[in-house]
Amino acid sequence: MKIHEYQGKQLFQKYGVPVPIGIPAMSVDEAIAAIPKVQQQAGTDVVVVKAQIHAGGRGKGGGVKVAKTRGDAEAAVRAIFGMQLVTHQTGPAGKKVQRLLVEQGLLIERELYLGMLLDRATGRTTVIASTEGGMEIEEVAAKHPEKILREAIDPATGWQSWQSRKLAKQLALTGGAVRELDKFLGALARCYDDMDCSLLEINPLVLTKDGKLFALDAKINFDDNALYRHPELEPWRDPSEEDPQELEAKKWDLSYISLEGNIGCMVNGAGLAMSTMDIIKFYGGQPANFLDVGGGATAEKVTAAFKIITSDPHVKAIFVNIFGGIMKCDTIAQGVIAAVKEVGLKVPLVVRLEGTNVELGKKLLAESKLDIVTAADMADGAQKVVRAAGGKS
């Protein structure tokens, strides 16, 4: 699960991670009212107006503006609110800006990078830091790998002060900033662990002219498997940031991801679902989605999954690829038949069944008299569905 920058900063504040003074706004009026409040609280006229969308690269896309006067700030609010913000992560259509963060402008001495995430090779939460703040960290890693600093967190002791001092030395922080960094990292590590984060990224982490550290940005992802421990995060979910099919799938506990193509896929198991996308593409088609119905799905869940696929207007053909283990082929057949009876079948349907109760599943489909193309194996099914969708082969 992802949240907005302003929500991330609220969480940081709770843990004692310093952030600039700021007020979120859900409308132009709210944002304009926020400007003098921020100016007054911060004791400066300089404010920053920031578009709140989940995608990165907002600054380059024109979604972040620094204003030196109240008038400039109001103009920035009007320019950014409602704009269709295009960044390298939004796709060409962009994302409509419906939330803003009005924030205090700071006098910046240096910009650093700070991240916290799991290092899969060691199984440890790891702090990533760099002197190259404000740049894409992937770019820094590719061009200057020596500028990426790493420090693993011991699961027994948590983050230790000596590690802060070591990083401070490597980041060329001196004097009071060393202690600032230690408080900052200690708080951040507690936040990561308590909240079951899967990614914390602060880019940039700024050192101000008066020697203080602030998280100028806040990108937080949470471990979806741990959300049951954090019901307090649920109100922070922004439905406008989520795909309608993905939202519906979530209700049914289905693993679904929207893609750009026109072949709807229903598969059991994540690995097989990914590989089904691969083989469709291999034969010249384009998958419309990734969908793993899971192991223990009921016929009702299969029906829901099928309806999600057919609700996508781009879908020109559907490929059901099942290797039943726990999942029984007759359950899949029942679910598909029920869904077709309910919503009809307007596009070709190719079905490949294998595994537990395969004969029973095939018999049910045959007796249903539905217009189904059966496939002998995965390759056969993929070729048939690509042809049916009007692709090549």
């Binding site: 198991g269 690995g271 990734f290 283990g325």
Partner: protein, 294 residues
Amino acid sequence: MSVLVGFDTRLVVQGMSGSAGAFHAKQMVEYGTRVVAGVTPGKGGAKVAGLEQIPMYDTVEEAVRLAGANTTVVYVPPPAAADSILEAAAAGIRLVIAITEGIPVRDMVKVAYVLERDYPETILIGPNCPGVITPGQCKVGIMPGYIHKPGGVGVVSRSGTLTYEIVHQLTALGLGQSTAIGIGGDPVKGTDFIEALAWFAEDPGTSSIFMIGEIGGDSEERAAEFIHANVNKPVAAFIGGQTAPPGKRMGHAGAIISGGKGAAADKIAALKAAGIAVAPTPAEMGTTLAKLLA
């Protein structure tokens, strides 16, 4: 010959009174696996329908002491799964096979750390995996038993259903399996490719290996280096997720391309550079290995 499980396995099922645990315990008994005990806290002495012959205990320690269990399979739901794994390790179980899907990463970081520190002898397979099967001897997990056939191919995989797919293809080609190990799709897990490959490399009953990887992390790259340096048996591989978009988690918590790392193309290049045959599509996994053996 085989690795991990076989005729010597004496299995305890953690979470046997739950619906998944009971269903699969029955399937395992039918396959011929020696299930010696079930454990569910608070259900000691109870009977599980259809499994009345198997004693239920409150703790794994009792299953070890009273029923002689030496291997466990964990079907316990995610909130209690990490606790169950550590309970098994503390009870002296040396092989823990965790099927549970959806254990929080924070819990697994702690489990992996404690196992490494206090129970270095304990092997953890999974979590979020289909389990381990030695065809004709012992099935521990959720895989459909009937598609397997005893033979010489060692299978190791990050994906469940894709493991069934390769096993099915191998069996259809007349290639039986020594042992099939599902290592699971989570970012923090017990056994990784390298350990499993080392077991297969040493196992006299394994004459060739098929490895299934997927996007995310760099286990496949490290496995490729290991194979190049240490494995003298024919190895074929497949990588799932070649067309997956970056930044999207493809079902498995571990299957995500992030920070420019974990893409299928890099993994395939690393495997090929190590002299491993890589199947171009999932439909050609079996034939890719068969060609190597012809």
